[in-house]
Every structure is written in C-alpha cells, then in structure tokens.
Symmetry: C2
Subunit: 318 residues, 2 copies
C-alpha cells in the first residue's frame, strides 16, 4: 500500500490532474460509476463528510472533517483522508492526504472550466477568496492561460498578501494586484473566480459591471451560500454546472431557480462539453462547481498510478 | 500520523484490548458518544460499510469492504481501513488495518462476555466456525479461561485443522479436538461460541442438549442469519446483547421475538453488567454480539496510545 502526503501529491503534474477530472466527466456521460449521496455526520459544531465512489477499476472513500475552531489548536479547520482501493479484489491500494486531493481536484475542475469556457488569449483575471481553494484556482488558471494581470481579493488582506507572495514565487512573470473592492476587481478582470464561503453576493447586482465576462463559482456549496449577484446568471450566454445536483446544493443556482428569474433549461451539464473542442466560441459563461466524489476518485487513481511509476511516496506494509 | 498494520496491532496485549471494550460499555452507560447508524453501500455483489463514531477525545471511521469473490485474486474477502482522529483539533492521528482491529475487538467482546458469564473454572469449550473471527474468539477464550479441552467445528475441515495448528503453537497446553458433528461438539462443551455466517441453526433444536451450557453468538449480524436453535434462548437463564440494535439486526434475537416465543424483557443489555463483578453466579446464559463502531473507536484509541508509548508502527509525515 502506498502513502502519499501533500508534498507527494504536489509532485504530480497539473496536466495529469486536469486530465483525470476530464476522465470523470467522461464516466458521467457513460454512466459508468456508482456514487451514493455524500454522507454528513454532525458532532457538535464539527462535521464529518464521507464520500464513497466506485468505478469499474477503483473504489475510493474520502473522509473530510470540518472543525471550525481547530485554529485554537494551531490546526487547519479542514482535514481529509483518502482511501483508494482496487474494485476487483477489494484490496486497499493507497492512503492519501484528502485535503491535498481536494485542493488539486477543485483547482483542476476550475482549470478545465477555464480551458473550455475562456478565450485562449485571456489576459486579466480576478480571484475572490484567498484561501486554500483560491490558491489552487489561481495555480490552475495560470497553468491554463498566459495571464498578464491577476487580481486577488479577500476580506482579510493578510490572506491576499500571503497568496500573492506564494504565486509570485511560482509564477514570477505575472503581475499581481491586491484589490480591496470587489467591484474594482470585477471591472478589471475578463474572468472572475470566487472561492469563498460567502452567503451574500460578493459584488453589486449590476448587469453593466458583469457584461461580457466569464464567472466561475467554487464556493456556495450549500443552498444558503451565494457568491454572485443574479446579474451574472442573467447576463451570461451559458450556465454550466459540474454536477446536476448543483441546482439543489448551491445558492448560486437554486436561489435564481426558486425565484424564477432563470429557466431550468438554461442550466446545462458541463460534462456535455468536454469532448467538444472550443465549443462555446468564447461566449460569456457562468460555471458553477460543487464537486463530487467521482472527481476525487479519478484524481486519486491518476495520482496513485503515476506515483507508483515514479516511485513517489512511502510504501506501507499493510 | 501513525500507521499500524496487522503485525503492529498484534503486539498490543489482549488485556489492553479487552479493557478498551469494557470502556466502550461504560461510554454506552454514560451516553457519552455519538454513533450514527452504520452506512452500507452496495456495488454489484460487493459491499462497503462506513462506520463513523465520536467520543469526547477521538473520532474514528472504519471502512470495511466485503468482496465475496476476492479469493479469485488471492485476496481476503474482507478488508478494512481504520482512521483515528483527534476530536478536539480534527487532526488525523493514525491509520490502521481495519480488519485486524475488527478481529481483535470482536475477540475481546467475546472475551469480556466469557469473563462475566462463565465459571472461572470452565474446562471445556467448543467453537463453531474456524474463520478469522472464530480464531480470534478462541484466542480471547484462552486468554480468559484455563480451558483443558477445546473443540473446533467447521463445515470445511481444512479450516478446522488450520485453526488447530495455529492454536497449538500459541497455546500448547490445551488439548484440541476437531468435531465433525455440531451436536457432539455442544454435548462435550460447557461453553459454545459460534462465529459463522449461517442462516440455519448449527445444531438441532433440543433443550436437553443445550441445558446448563452458555452460548455466545458472534455471527448472525443480519435478520436472516441464525446460529442457534430456539432451544438456546428458551433454556438459558439470561440473554444479553452487546447493543440494543441486536434485537433488530440479528436473526438469533429478532426471529424468536417475532415468533413471540421469548418476551422482549428477557433480552438485556450487556453494558449493565460490566461494572458488577461476578454478577450472574455462573448461570447458563446466551450472549449475542453484533458489534458497533464504538468498540472499534475505544480499541483503536487504546492501541494508538500504547503504540505511541512503545514506539510500535510506522510514523507518517502527513
């Protein structure tokens, strides 16, 4: 059995991870997977999520714990353990840092969105939310597009500065700007990615402000969370969701649907795009991701297979 | 983070494991635990069980996969991974072989039953079912009682011989006998332990045959499974279950209840016994165990704490 920590997972190329996400969409189209609803267990103010998924070759369970007060123990609020097993023999194959797998696959879901929904010559972008997921979105954005100017916005400006410092090292050819005003960030960006836990839209409901731009929402994974004002969903030509339950799970989709300001037909499955090269002629789009265990499975199995080949990680005698 | 495989777990003393099981019953009495229903996910003929549990100090999730056809890949049908975490900070503390934890805790549940329900001078016993659980029952039986003669019975006599060979090495002072007839085994034993997946009683429904003996059932974890004939539950003075959902989950309890041949009041919680030394004056009893995630948690945390202290296992840089 193989053990892969965050550092090991970081050695796997973004192309491998993004291809694994693409593979997951292919499995969705073929309906060749088995993914029960994710299970939530509450314990006081803490939450444990259990996310099992099966394909023909593998099965994987990601366990994610969310401890809002972990910082008082100098620990991260979100922890995860990923167990990857062989779906023929049942044998466990690998244990991985589940938080690192989540960050990579979420970045790659955004990255694949960018690669299919934005102009190849995209030059300006803004990221709202400078946490773990925001950083991962930035990395996959810069992997996919030759961005000249990247704006970073966060309610906590220390977080923005920290993210800027990390990105400056990794992508020194990009110019960075920290924005203290979301409207300014949106105005200056052709693409806006939000990765926050906000329950209120991050900028004002103004069609003129959002016109002609593409938006990606990574946060708002609950019906009470909303990152973008209704102007976004109303103004864009295309609305895509990574999974069809996004229409139930994310406030960015379910609130406009409930208020009947958008027709259900406008919400389309991103999976239908993945085999169509340059399908959208760069029309302004809104892509909403809520994630799914199938992404974790295909990413974890791709990471495992490459790690085996390249002798990355620690071998455990199970 | 610590990794503990089967060999590492095997280094932990049976007294430590059995005390951890006793601690779980104490937590049941204090109601100081949070244990959601175990989750079953089916995938074709295979099953994945997800068993989370929380106490004040720890939370643990055991993932168990059951692949009936794994033997064609030379792999065991049952695999497990146990993840133990700190319930204050949320940090993962240890990954363990979940099948080994299951075998130890199930053995210890039987062992604690034996220590409280049988005569200290017990000399003869029989085990029906010579699989992994049967072997673990035998080990905890021989840890708790100075048995002179141990009978082993299994539909597959090669399994009985294999178990006899293992036990002969570990407990050479005991005399072993392989029984090809369950009635003969019962007749010759003061205590009978069954650890099978049988859906039919393992011996005939004869009150004279079972009179004066104590019975422990480890199998029959589903309503359609039954290890003992009704004569057992009718003849014994006491019926104990390790968890109150045994009355729903095990055919050995739910079938006699449904057929109204036993009153619900006769079924008592074993947890009520654990603080009472020698409570039963060695009256003939029937103890039915179906297991619970809380046993896994208290056993895993005791194993983890001792392993840390004794420097057992492999340290992982998470």
């Amino acid at each position: 059995m193989l053990f892969l920590n965050k550092k090991d997972i970081g050695k796997i190329g973004k192309d491998v991870i993004q291809n694994a996400v693409k593979k997951a969409y292919g499995l969705v189209l073929d309906k060749s997977y088995n993914m029960p609803d994710r299970m939530h267990v509450g314990d006081g103010q803490n939450t444990l999520l259990l996310m099992p998924c099966f394909t023909k070759e593998f099965f994987a369970t990601k366990l994610v714990s969310v401890f809002p007060n972990a910082s008082q123990f100098d620990q991260p609020a979100v922890n995860g353990v990923m167990v990857l097993s062989d779906n023929r023999s049942g044998q466990p194959l690998a244990i991985m840092d589940g938080a690192a797998i989540t960050a990579e696959r979420t970045g790659a879901v955004g990255g694949l969105g960018i690669s299919l929904l934005t102009d190849e010559n995209l030059e300006t972008a803004g990221i709202l939310g400078a946490g773990v997921q925001g950083l991962s979105q930035a990395r996959y954005l810069l992997f996919n597009r030759k961005i000249k100017k990247l704006w970073i916005g966060d309610v906590n400006s220390a977080s923005s500065e920290k993210m800027e410092a990390i990105l400056k090292k990794e992508f020194p050819w990009v110019t960075y700007g920290i924005s203290k005003n979301s409207e300014d960030l949106v105005k200056a960006s052709q693409l806006v990615i939000a990765a926050t836990t906000s329950t209120q839209p991050l900028f004002k409901n103004d069609k003129a402000l959002v016109k002609g731009k593409t938006f990606i929402s990574i946060g708002s994974f609950r019906p009470d969370m909303k990152e973008f004002p209704d102007a976004v969903i109303l103004t864009v030509d295309n609305v895509y969701v990574d999974t069809l339950f996004a229409a139930k799970e994310s406030g960015d989709i379910c609130i406009p649907l409930e208020n009947k300001i958008v027709k259900p037909e406008k919400i389309k499955a991103f999976a239908d795009l993945v085999d169509t090269p340059r399908p959208l002629e760069n029309k302004p789009s809104f892509f909403k991701s809520v994630g799914m265990a199938l992404f974790d499975l295909t990413v974890a199995s791709a990471v495992y297979e490459l790690a085996l080949k390249e002798k990355i990680g620690q071998t455990l005698d199970f």
